[in-house]
Amino acid sequence: MNLDLSDEQSQILDAAEALLQAEYPLSRLRSGAAEDLTRLVEFGLFGLGLAGEDGSDLLTEALLHARLGRHLLTPSTLAAAVAARLAAQAGDDALASRIADGALPVSAGVATGGDLLLCDAPGATMAVWREGDTLRWGPCDSGAAAPPAGGGLPLTRTPRPAGAATAPSAPWQLLVAAQLLGTAEAALDLSVAYARTREQFGRPIGAFQAIKHHCADMALGVAMVSAQLDFAALALEAGQEDADFQIAALARLAPRIALRNARMAIQIHGGIGFSDEADAHLILKQAHRLGQLLLPADLMALDAPLTPLNRSS
């Protein structure tokens, strides 16, 4: 047993990071342009779950989605990754390929009342969405633009398709949580960089204990979610008994830490932090959006892996 990245995993992640830094800097989110996933399609991101692909293990895929989360990629990346996997599992290789090749964009969403709210989905014809504590996927009507809270990614409201297929939730939960981890890391990175350079009262604010301890708290959260992500991905991949438990624990931790870190990043940035001009609020809104996509996890209904042994004395 070990928890080191394999050389192959490291290479894939490094390549992804290089691509993300070059092609998907946070500054792109201010341009108002639609998210262009072409480069990620070329990278093979949405084919990872398909049979015969290299590096197709869930852990590598989760770690890649954590990187995407760090760059605040559209939730459509989650929808495409999971839909390609579902299509392949349903034996519809053609559909899987079209999704993996980017020919058929898939949107992520959440049901509310009789409608679906779809993130970043102008003209979407297929979606993966949460309905309460169920995950569904399938074709959807293209909907009407709806104003998103706080601006940012376009939001679409469309009638909820009746009789859509349900999908197993575990891989979805894993990847959404991975992206949430990424947002938590982004908040930490942004805060540390700002705290090192921004001066107040003649010193970098990172020299003040209050700011230090905020950053330390963020690092604690990241360390926990990151370790739990490895655990959950490995358990799910290996089909271990405790996989559902590990996923549920992850799904409880990830959104809380992501939101808390984003809040702290805004606070650390001071005045500029609650303006539209720093990136901190973009992280908060992404964490919030991903949190709505995540299914609620009933952690208490599951058996824990480390249960006490009852010995009658």
Binding site: Q200, F201, I211, F274, E277
Partner: protein
């Protein structure tokens, strides 16, 4: 100590309730643009016509001269009615600049400005903060060079609320060249239509543009616009902020209790549920905040820093209340709406006017007497 209302207090509360119930706008005003200014000034004019503007101002200057306990009662009824937030474009004039002029302005300044403020005819903005200085007001660098009877102003201000709408600005500048920290500053009335002024709105994270940067390029301001004495601006600014911490803060603090009640009514939490416990915490703390507010207003003595306790309690509780309200929306929280706008705007509570970290330093050093050290 005595909080038993007199029959007159009861009558006053009823009168306020009746008038507000009949007159307060039923719809939320537009958040920005001309519509926002129009709504704010219309509401102020309506209050003024009925004798409900300048509540804390002295009668000599057109105010109502209300005692502190009557103000508390008014703002409680104001909150219960859901009347418009006092934090609109009339705020700086009514709660900052006006009281400062009353306290320290010349007769000419008072005679010209006070009636206009009271009736919503002139809008004021604040020009205290500067980029890079953050909460450290004493490090400001915008300069006013004395040339005869004129100040020539150059520099930049930030976080100036409603600067786009404003006719005047309370502007804090360094008028004594080479002076440091609190010395050599002046508080001046700046005509926002003077040549050399450029206003650049800053959108906040809710997408609203209350805030702006203001740039000054050889802006000429008559020396007669100085309030409280040339080079004595720090004392004047502290007077200004003192008003904010009393009457204006009161309105927001009391409003929070009512917001908690609205949240409780809407949430319909099952007894014993986790949500009910969370709401009970907020309710208890809102009750405590209300008691702190009353005490901060109705108790003599204390240190000038005691306000930090109420202010910070309010700020952090307000954020929790707005956060829970946003959470309770569920998926609908992805959509724009007033709850989400209020939630996003609540992030400024622990930052603007001194971060939570600075407030804690003040509490520790100035109230508790712990040794000073650098600040954050």
């Amino acid at each position: 100590m005595d909080l038993t209302p007199s029959p007159d207090d009861h009558r006053f509360r009823q009168r306020a309730r009746d008038w507000l119930g009949a007159n307060a706008p039923r719809h939320r005003a537009p958040a920005g643009g001309a519509g926002a200014r129009q709504a704010a000034t219309a509401w102020l004019a309506r209050c003024h016509a009925a004798g409900w503007s300048g509540l804390a101002w002295p009668r000599d200057w057109g105010g109502q001269g209300l005692s502190a306990d009557r103000l508390l009662i008014w703002y409680e009824e104001y909150a219960r009615t859901g009347a418009p937030s006092p934090l609109d474009c009339t705020f700086v004039g009514l709660h900052h600049a006006g009281p400062t002029l009353i306290a320290l302005g010349s007769e000419a300044q008072k005679a010209f400005h006070l009636p206009r403020i009271l009736q919503g005819q002139s809008i004021w903005c604040q020009g205290f903060s500067e980029p890079g200085a953050g909460s450290d007001l004493a490090s400001l660098r915008t300069s006013g060079r004395v040339e005869g009877d004129i100040l020539v102003v150059n520099g930049q201000k930030i976080w100036s609320s409603y600067a786009e709408d404003a006719d005047y600005q309370e502007l804090l500048i360094r008028t004594e060249p080479g002076s440091a920290r609190h010395r050599g500053l002046s508080w001046v009335i700046c005509d926002m239509r003077a040549p050399g002024i450029t206003v650049r709105p800053i959108a906040n994270m809710a997408g609203e543009t209350h805030f702006a940067e203001v740039f000054y390029d050889d802006v000429r301001i008559p020396l007669s616009n100085v309030v409280g004495g040339l080079h004595n601006g720090w004392a004047t600014a502290m007077t200004t902020l003192g008003f904010e911490r009393k009457t204006a803060a009161m309105a927001l603090q009391l409003d929070l209790s009512v917001r908690v009640e609205r949240l409780i009514a809407e949430a319909g939490a099952a007894p014993g549920s986790a949500l009910a416990e969370t709401l009970a915490d907020l309710r208890a703390e809102a009750a405590g905040l209300r008691a702190m507010t009353w005490r901060s207003v109705l108790r003599e003595g204390g240190t000038p820093f005691d306000g930090s306790l109420v202010r910070l309690t309010f700020a952090e509780l307000a954020q929790r209340v707005h956060r829970l309200a946003a959470e309770l929306l569920g998926p609908e929280s992805l959509l724009q709406g007033p709850v989400m706008t209020d939630y996003f705007e609540s992030y400024s509570e622990t930052i603007a006017g001194g971060t939570a970290e600075i407030q804690r330093n003040i509490i520790a050093e100035r109230i508790l007497g712990l040794p000073r050290e650098g600040r954050a």
